[in-house]
Symmetry: C2
Subunit: 250 residues, 2 copies
DNA sequence: CGTTAAGTTGACACGACTCAAAGGCGGTGG
DNA sequence: CCACCGCCTTTGAGTCGTGTCAACTTAACG
């Protein structure tokens, strides 16, 4: 066993390990430690609050299955979703350093989560420098994604924003083995999508139909198929480099 | 000299030290080390590229004076500003870990910058655990701010967005001693502001005038005065907790 | 089946964009 | 010191993307 990260193994059912392997971050020892931490997971239904704004939980949560989100509620009751948490994504890393959370997180579908205590996190990062580095990597990719979303909300129209989101999700889900070549389970309602894209659900519905008419997507029964990934990418000038997926796919 | 952070000293002209002191992070030793790093600064004019998308600089930059921004260019030529860098703000912390930058940074006014090499950063974080922690803190507050902006672009109208931005900047600048009670130097053109707020410069102009007519702000010669901070805050339901300024002001 | 949440549709309103032109401020050079 | 020039700000008129409200249809589930 070496201290240098290995080439990723062909397959791993743990989405966090898959993701970090994709970035060539882990050693065998790191992988074993992560697997150990994930032995006890927990199933929760859709709509479960993972993190509540204003509270100071020190725990970190790892999504093993399902989709969750970061969100903020405005005083008028509107909701803005500021990030989607897919299998392999962590949330709550800020807790220990910042104290009170300034935003919330909740599940958008039934999810399998691992709850990791601050102690375990500290232990993990102290014994496994690669994992500490991986957390930095995770944070930074998150930040880059946030900036991409911000760019979209500021400068892209509804259709382009939606196309861009689908392109992003396809890649992120493929990395963790949760998407086929051009399709994946998509549990969000159109209302949820509206809160991601900064639109109303009525308008989201219209945009979805436009994409259907253009024969770019099929979206039905919580499953999306992208009929022409290339054309969809062109439509929104999708450039995946912000996801830092290092070569292999693109 | 202790390892535990001290209560902040009354005054420090170094904006980074002021900011971190505000969060009660540093010891005397940490402060001295940071001051040493900042001994060699560099003046650059407005429009200077600090970080270019796609390039892999490992350097970190600290703004001592002036304003800069993170931005992305869309294929159609539009620009989205995804963050404002004020005195005391760092940029480029991602370089060493992620490699190629997925966004750019540039100065929006004449600036004084400190260029810090990866070696110095590594040295600093290894010898001063509080500074390492401070970088995490910085990253996480950045992330929280990004989420707040995303919320605004998604769910607030132009006027509210602008009011919110001014409230945020007032606080952030006060922390580093670059703002009076209710006013500060604001070097951005209305075009720059438009790229921050996701509007056009024409519409920004109209919103500025609405705020003027409501006697909420005076904006003239690159200087802004907020005539009624409370009312401005009410207008946009400003809640500063995302900035994690820990008590003192608010 | 009955009930409820989600998706769909239409008519209308409004915020923000576009294009285009005019006015102001700050620098520069004659 | 004034005339000029470029960049920024301001204004108007018309258009378009998106929001609102409200009704109706379809899917999901016990």
């Amino acid at each position: 066993m070496t201290d240098r990260p290995d080439v990723a193994p062909v397959d791993d059912s743990n989405p966090l390990i898959r993701k970090l392997d994709h970035a060539r971050i882990l050693t065998d020892g790191d992988r074993a430690a992560l697997r150990e931490v994930c032995r006890h997971s927990r199933a929760v239904e859709a709509g479960w609050d993972v993190i509540k704004e204003g509270e100071g939980s020190q725990n970190v949560y790892l999504v093993l299955d399902g989709m969750a989100c970061h969100y903020k509620l405005l005083s008028e009751g509107a909701r803005a979703i500021t990030g989607l948490l897919l299998p392999g994504d962590l949330c709550g890393l800020h807790g220990a350093i910042l104290g009170k959370a300034s935003h919330s997180a909740a599940t958008l579908s039934a999810c399998t989560l691992v709850e990791i205590s601050e102690t375990v996190i500290n232990d993990l990062t102290q014994k496994h420098p690669n994992i500490a580095r991986a957390f930095w990597w995770e944070m930074l990719v998150n930040e880059a994604t946030l900036r991409e979303w911000l760019t979209g909300l500021g400068r892209r129209d509804g259709m382009t924003r939606m196309a861009h989101l689908f392109c992003e999700l396809l890649l992120r889900l493929q990395v963790v083995g949760r998407a086929e070549d051009n399709s994946f389970a998509f549990p969000l309602t159109q209302g949820d999508l509206a809160d991601v894209l900064g639109l109303t659900s009525v308008h989201v519905n219209r945009v979805v139909q436009d994409l259907r008419k253009a024969e770019l997507i099929v979206l039905d029964r919580r499953w999306i198929t992208m009929l022409d990934v290339d054309r969809l990418r062109q439509l929104c000038s999708f450039d995946p480099s912000y996801l830092h997926l290092s070569g292999r796919m693109m």
